[in-house]
């Protein structure tokens, strides 16, 4: 996280998008430097890198998280 503001807009460097699906492993798309608008954010979590690296993403099958409604 390279920066943020009052409206919880955030700037991420070296960002990656993870796409979850039931049919295949997690797809990881490198995005680089991104500004993400606060409205679109549900949650920001601090990643424990040790745990994160221990997970083999290709074995993970998961439903996408349902969208926010209302």
């Amino acid at each position: 996280m390279a920066g943020f503001d009052q409206k919880s807009n955030v700037v991420l460097s070296e960002s990656k998008e993870r796409v979850y699906s039931m049919d295949e492993g997690v797809e990881e798309i490198p995005l680089g430097l991104y500004l993400v608008k606060g409205d679109m954010i549900v949650l920001i979590g601090e990643i424990d890198e040790a745990v994160d690296q221990a997970v083999d993403l290709s074995t993970i099958r998961a439903e996408p998280i349902p969208p926010i409604r209302y």
Partner: protein, 87 residues
């Protein structure tokens, strides 16, 4: 209510339990030591220990009932209602 164990239910039906660290003016919530309730279905946050939840996506916050002074809440609410009415 800070440092209590709470469960935050989001508008996408996810429930996250954790220790409440802080709440701001937008009701954004910071939780420590988090756990997603249905972890088998949502493994996305395995490596996440603490987080910031945007207030606008919160549906409910479940609180530990025995740590809430309901009398205090009701008095504060009446006082606040009175202040609003005076404007």
């Amino acid at each position: 209510m800070v440092h209590q164990q709470v469960t935050v239910e989001l508008k996408n039906d996810l429930s996250i339990t954790g220790v409440l660290k802080s709440v701001d003016q937008f009701l954004n919530i910071r939780l420590d030591n988090i756990k997603v309730l249905d972890e088998a279905r949502h493994p996305h946050m395995m490596a996440v220990k603490n987080c910031f939840i945007r207030g606008s996506v919160v549906r409910y916050v479940q609180l530990p009932g025995d740590h809430v002074d309901t009398q205090l809440l009701e008095d504060a609410t009446r006082r606040e209602a009175l202040n609003q009415a005076k404007r």
